[in-house]
């Protein structure tokens, strides 16, 4: 009870003070804060003199998170299915440990590893191949820059796979064995049982897990900052540089002017609002699906 209240107080203070600090920025920029693409900090100590338009960073945050989810979700569901439905205990146990170990790696390690090895050595050749073959589609247009949305998104995917896998695995385990046995009794193969019984029954849980992973991806800071490429304009190709909200904050707060810090706090408030919107949307989706399939998970 008391700790619950403490959480509320801390959250309230956080929202209150950050919103208060960033109000001058929101007022001076108006709607262009969300829609414009020019971020040009001023140097004043007392008022807002620069131009602060965050669309480049909002766009980058959404794109990298989307890439991460598109990659991480099928992989995580696959791993979870393998662990719960295919692998025996003896194989599953060490695999679970290994996946969970991925979650324990600090994100700066992912960033440095991505910067010096994973992106240039492993990811760049296939990215070049895709861009050469499908470059006529704007989102795959080349040249492949050494830091880009795609590299940041893939590393983000690796970082959120453990979370999604762990949650989805729990949900799969919760599917009653009698359901599976009913499937087998009707002559279904193992694959058919997974596809028609285990996954559909777990759909709300999978969506909930995805949203938690998405939350982590939206806010991930240092690994993205190292790999996203600090773009200052909107690039539609996933092989070109961009910038996310969290990366922009961590990259520039240290050398910011007082008004620049207010603007970065405004970015933080924006990210917070985005996370809330996505979480609420997820709740609504889960509730709807829960109603349809006759249960409410998550």
């Amino acid at each position: 009870m008391l700790s619950g209240a403490a959480v509320l107080v801390v959250l309230g203070l956080m929202i209150g003070s950050t919103t208060l600090d960033s109000l001058p920025v929101f007022f001076s920029q108006g709607i262009s804060f969300l829609t414009g693409t020019n971020w040009d900090p001023g140097a004043s100590r007392t008022e807002i003199t620069g131009t602060y338009q965050a669309w480049v960073f909002i766009y980058g945050t959404l794109v990298t998170s989307l890439i991460a989810i598109v990659i991480a979700l099928p992989v995580a569901v696959g791993i979870a299915l393998f662990l719960t439905e295919v692998a025996g205990h003896r194989l599953a146990r060490p695999l679970i440990y290994m996946v969970e170990l991925l979650a324990a790696v600090p994100s700066v390690i992912y960033g440095l590893w991505g910067l010096h090895f994973f992106a240039p050595v492993i990811l760049k050749p296939p990215a070049n191949a895709v861009s050469d073959a499908l470059g006529f589609i704007p989102i795959f247009a080349g040249p492949v820059i050494s830091f880009n949305f795609f590299f940041a998104g893939v590393v983000l995917a690796i970082m959120i796979i453990p979370i999604i896998t762990a949650l989805v695995r729990e949900v799969f385990t919760a599917v009653p064995d009698t359901d599976r046995q009913a499937g087998f009794a009707l002559g279904a193969t193992r694959w058919e049982v997974m596809r028609s019984i285990v996954v559909p029954r777990s759909r709300p849980g999978i969506i909930g897990a995805t949203m938690l992973g998405l939350g982590r991806a939206l806010g991930e800071t240092i690994a993205v900052a190292l790999l996203i490429g600090g773009g200052t304009a909107i690039n539609f190709s996933i092989f070109q540089q961009g910038e996310t909200i969290a990366a922009k904050i961590v990259n520039t707060f240290q050398e910011s002017t007082p008004e620049g810090i207010d603007a970065l706090i405004a970015l933080g408030v924006t990210l917070f609002a985005m996370t809330i919107v996505i979480n609420v949307a997820a709740r609504l989706i889960v509730r709807r699906l829960g109603d349809v399939s006759g249960e409410a998970v998550a």
């Binding site: 020019n38 971020w39 040009d40 900090p41 140097a43 004043s44 100590r45 440095l112 910067l115 010096h116 240039p120 760049k124 040249p143 820059i145 050494s146 830091f147 880009n148 900052a225 190292l226 996203i228 490429g229 600090g230 773009g231 200052t232 540089q241 910038e243 990366a247 990259n251 520039t252 707060f253 240290q254 050398e255 910011s256 002017t257 007082p258 620049g260």
Partner: protein, 364 residues
């Protein structure tokens, strides 16, 4: 390789801080006292000094602190590399004894500081840094560029390495028909400030389209975090070009371009040419200056870093310790600075820096 070196650079100051703390704990070892002949040190000073600010000179400040505390065991100095912006803010808020900044304080910052403290702010230049233009172009050594071509490259006007403007500066070099891929810093940085201040001064196009500062809205190019990120971006793209701290370029053996200075001489970035950069420039009385219009043997993209202090408001022990530390560092610190790849500020400016050190706490 690069990562390791970077880690060493980061770890070194930590190790030094550790050593300082240990030294302070074991304190009272008499070995240092009396051994320093200069600046009247070894006189049993006792004070705790706290400074914070620029990250660029942090390695050399930590070494200076280590060297000075070795002669004055009673003094405990901490320098926290929190960034120039934070350093100036903390200095204005008077939560530190001295500040560190890669950019001299602006007029409104000085007004705020002087109103709060009730006396003047002193700028004390300590070392010079230079910004090297590094590139990755197989088969091309010793590239030469001037400010015009550099501006065009970073504005996106020159997109191929065999552009006539580059070819004209490099007769005999076999420049490939390759895309120029520009790399810049994605984090706010004094290095960016020195680089863009130079471009801004040299080109009206640059100042109207981009301007100068620790972060600017780059028209083209990919951003890397820190010198390490920029150098990775250069190394990983054939045809890459970007700017890094000179010390980082030297440590990592990057290919760097010679820059044509105001006298038309193509100058390679080195410690000597950086030190020579300030020779011909006029430095105002308050020691707030940019290094621009460099001629002679000077390398044109350079800047100073400053220690900030007040002319009043210290208690006597602190003032004596701070003056002794800065005097010792300016007089004895050149070889330490050079070994860490910082350029010393030269005799004439050093004398003026020392004059400002002497003014610390003159108002009591």
């Amino acid at each position: 390789m690069k990562v390791n070196r970077t880690w060493v650079r980061t770890a070194l100051p930590l190790a030094v801080v550790g050593a300082v703390v240990l030294g302070a704990c074991s304190g009272g070892s008499p070995s240092g006292s009396g051994s320093a002949a200069s600046a009247g040190t070894g006189s049993g000073l006792s004070a705790d000094l706290l400074g914070a600010g620029a990250t660029f000179p942090d390695p050399v400040y930590q070494e200076w602190i280590g060297g000075f505390v070795g002669t004055e065991p009673g003094v405990n100095i901490t320098y926290e590399p929190i960034g120039s912006g934070g350093g100036v803010e903390q200095f204005i808020a008077q939560s530190t004894d001295f500040g560190g900044s890669d950019a001299f304080m602006k007029d409104d910052e000085i007004t705020a500081a002087e109103q709060a403290r009730g006396c003047s702010v002193l700028h004390i230049p300590t070392v010079f840094g230079a910004v090297a233009v590094a590139y990755n172009l197989s088969g091309v050594e010793g590239l030469t560029l001037n400010s015009d071509t550099l501006v065009k490259i970073f504005l996106g006007g020159i997109t191929k390495w065999n552009d006539p403007a580059i070819a004209a500066l490099n007769p005999g070099a076999s420049l490939p028909d390759e895309d120029v891929i520009v790399a810049h810093r994605s984090d706010g940085s004094g290095t960016t400030s020195i680089f863009t201040t130079y471009l801004d001064h040299e080109s009206a196009d640059w100042s109207s389209q981009v301007g100068k500062g620790k972060e600017v809205s780059w028209p083209v190019g990919v951003g890397g975090q820190g010198n390490d990120g920029v150098s990775a971006a250069i190394a990983q793209n054939d045809g890459g070009i970007g700017y890094v701290e000179l010390s980082y370029a030297i440590e990592n053996g990057l290919s760097v371009a010679s820059m044509v200075n105001a006298d038309g001489n193509a100058i390679e970035p080195t410690l000597e040419s950086t030190a020579a950069a300030a020779d011909g420039i006029t430095i105002p009385d308050d020691l707030r200056f940019n290094i621009l219009d460099v001629g002679g043997d000077g390398y044109p993209i350079a800047g100073a870093t400053w220690i900030l202090a007040y002319t009043c408001g210290y208690d006597a022990a602190k003032a004596d310790a701070l003056k002794a530390f800065l005097t010792w560092s300016l007089e004895n610190g050149d070889s330490i600075a050079e070994s860490l790849l910082y350029a010393p500020i030269g005799d004439s400016l050093q004398a003026r820096s020392l004059a400002n050190v002497a003014r610390i706490n003159e108002g009591g």
